[in-house]
Subunit: 264 residues, 4 copies
């Protein structure tokens, strides 16, 4: 086993003690880097521990850089890794600090560091849950056309209700413009209800009540669509032992009659 193969085992596998240690250290680094991004934005911490944060950021960036090049070095097909999903995430998680050197005042780019969160996936070996993830994604994909119609309807309702409320309440009660009123309608329809803007006139409150009840009720539509899809899929994944042929992968209620050819 060459040193490349050895390193590959440590970096990409988690079966050996060294491989596990590598994963644990990397996980800690990732979580630390995320904590850094967050703490960096807190005014009190930024002013008091600026140097510490800056140094830590450099340490983590360099560690990620080293890891990134090691990954390229030890993998068999480097280009495949570089343009894979994880390869791009790794690259984007490493680059922000370097960019901030080149482009002065590009603090906005530092928010790319939030992508580091996606790196956690790799370490925790969340792939084993990907079956569950696929289930959700398939259900959502199948629900998409219906949900599209639903969102389209919500947008139209928001637009019309926003215009109506703008006329009823007017700028003196916080509904300063139609876009603002549409924003208020979405805040109300989705039952968020900040309370930064709210109807004051009795008629405005009456119309708002109708919008609220509508918003409260229409949640039933996307929920119904997704649930119906999931119920259907859930039922299909139910395996039943067939008495006649002994097979136990008759997945769907409808299909298991067909596979073994027995009437049960």
């Amino acid at each position: 086993m060459t040193w490349k193969e050895h390193l590959h085992e440590i970096i990409y596998e988690a079966d050996t003690p060294l491989g596990k240690a590598f994963d644990v250290i990397l996980l800690i680094l990732i979580l630390l880097s995320l904590a850094l991004v967050m703490l960096d934005s807190v005014d009190f911490i930024n002013t008091h521990y600026h140097n510490l944060l800056h140094i830590s950021e450099w340490v983590i960036t360099i560690a990620f850089t080293v890891e990134y090049f090691l990954r390229i070095l030890v993998v068999k097909k480097p280009t495949k890794y570089i343009f894979s999903f994880y390869g791009i995430i790794d690259f984007l998680a490493t680059i922000p600090l370097y960019l901030s050197l080149i482009l002065t005042g590009s603090g906005a780019l530092l928010s790319l560091r939030a992508l580091r969160l996606l790196r956690v996936f790799r370490i925790l070996k969340l792939e084993r849950y990907f079956g569950a993830g696929n289930f959700l994604i398939t259900a959502l994909k199948k629900s998409l056309p219906k949900i599209f119609i639903f969102i389209y309807t919500v947008v139209i309702v928001s637009f019309v209700a926003g215009a109506v409320m703008y006329m009823i309440e007017g700028p003196q009660h916080g509904f300063t413009s139609i876009p603002q009123s549409i924003y208020w309608t979405i805040v109300t329809l989705t039952t968020v209800g900040y309370g930064d803007i709210y109807p004051v006139t009795p008629f405005g409150q009456f119309v708002a009540s109708i919008i609220m009840i509508l918003g409260y009720g229409i949640i039933a539509v996307p929920t119904g669509v997704v649930t119906a899809e999931m119920t259907f899929m859930r039922k299909k994944t139910n395996t039943v032992h067939c008495r006649n042929c002994g097979e136990n992968d008759h997945k769907s209620d409808a299909q298991y009659y067909l596979k073994c050819g027995h009437s049960l």
Copy 2:
């Protein structure tokens, strides 16, 4: 092919390059007209760019007018188009500015322009999603009697709870009248919770807590009704290939036994 047929192809079809170009231009015009309605209401923009907005509105209105008459001209049965769903939408989307000339101070009529949003449907050929739309509409229609009972119950609860909270909290805590209290109850039951009015006394907070938990829980009722209907419909639209007769339009689990007469 006469010029009428030619124009008909451009306006009503999207297969030719000219037809596609017409659709794209129309879509841009519609979205522009919607943006105009919104920007018109923003105070800052209205005062600074009043003339620009006014001229743009006239340009779009004239464009829509021309398009409307062209549609009548080239269609085979003009009256059928005029009284069709899209014909009425097109008419209402065109007329507001003309009305504002005749009726001075009829700014309210300008909000009819919001109907232009419905025109987007036509261009995006959303008809292909209408199967999905019909699914939703059928499910909602079948759920209607149960949802009617539900809303009726919510209204009674709001009325009673509003009266009770009016007596507990009273005008000094913002519950200035029973209608105001009913408004608060709806804000609370639908979990919107603006915070413009809220209970202050311990007993008021206790009753409010019960209303909240009730409001939080009863969302299960419309959701359950719609979902049950959709689950039932979703199951029916599952096609299964029948082994015996080869038919594949055995739509419902219950019915496919009947169609081919085989026990499967």
Copy 3:
């Protein structure tokens, strides 16, 4: 036909023109009486139109009194009517004003007038929707033990989370006592979120975030329970024409095999 039978037909039936007219007048009276209760509480209206409101209230009360005694008079079994659901509603809708004469300062009793809302049921002949109503009630009844467990869990979570937040945030941030904190927890768990009390310390916001996500997620439990029950019931009410016996009241997928005795 005696005058009693004649009156009975007018009051209790809606088939004759007079019976329909009676129903319409009664419906208007009920809605007027409800409007009175609400307007009575609006300060501005109460001070300016006090006499008008007071006289109207007496007119309606007398009308209801007359109607109540007529109902007793013409019905065959008066005691049965008096102690029936509608009989009690009619009585409670009539009595508040008389009580306010006897017991001075019993304004609270006037809120009993809100029960008049239930009288609307009678006129609108909502009984035809009672099938739908029964469906909902049966589904909710069957879901009750599970929902009881759910509410019990929510109460425990609210109590514990309330105590925890009281310790974290303390009286200086609005969490003045444990009952107050429990109230806040319920406001948060149910996603109402008035904003009268909210966490200020970072750790308090962190714990609050967990409570919010919990509250956002656990709505799935009552919704799931009720929906599962309704889906099950909805499926059972699906009628299928049986090919062999021609019966079409094979209500349940499970039972229709049994009724006709055919294997389908």
Copy 4:
């Protein structure tokens, strides 16, 4: 029957009059103790009735102590009781006041008294509802992997959206740091919407609207997952009388074909 057996019957059973009386007294004590914990935190009550509260707390603690030792005394296997679920609850419900004597200033420990709420379970014999409880727990357990994926997605979305909103709105509009912005995103995604922080700039309101609609819609995912699981389980628990074999415990639609071997 020895006195130990006699006491055991009173304390652990509820069939005899004495046993029932013991249960009722214990229930009252538990509810009183809970009320004490809550009232203790209310400033007004604490200052005016401090001595009364303190004495009551001691009375209840001593009563619980006596009960705890009696339970150990009369039970056959004391260690089994001590380390059972209820044994630990009973212990933790008794100990806080003693701890506050040893550790001065350990007011925080007093919140352990909230665990007394769990004692109510024992008295109300809620075990009969445990079937329902098990149903919920099983459904939630089976939904766990999918819900884990869902929560993970919500956390990532919150982090990214929080960072984005921090850059758009900035500290001057209340988004003082990324953790604060993440807190705001969770408040918005879960549709709680306190209104302590809210977007002010038009672009911020636009992004917030998208977050709201997303938050409003994604509730469909956990609801769908749990509902699908419950619908599946609910269907399985449907018992059908089999015509051929007379058995009535054919629990699942799929399985009852198998048990009796009849084609129905």
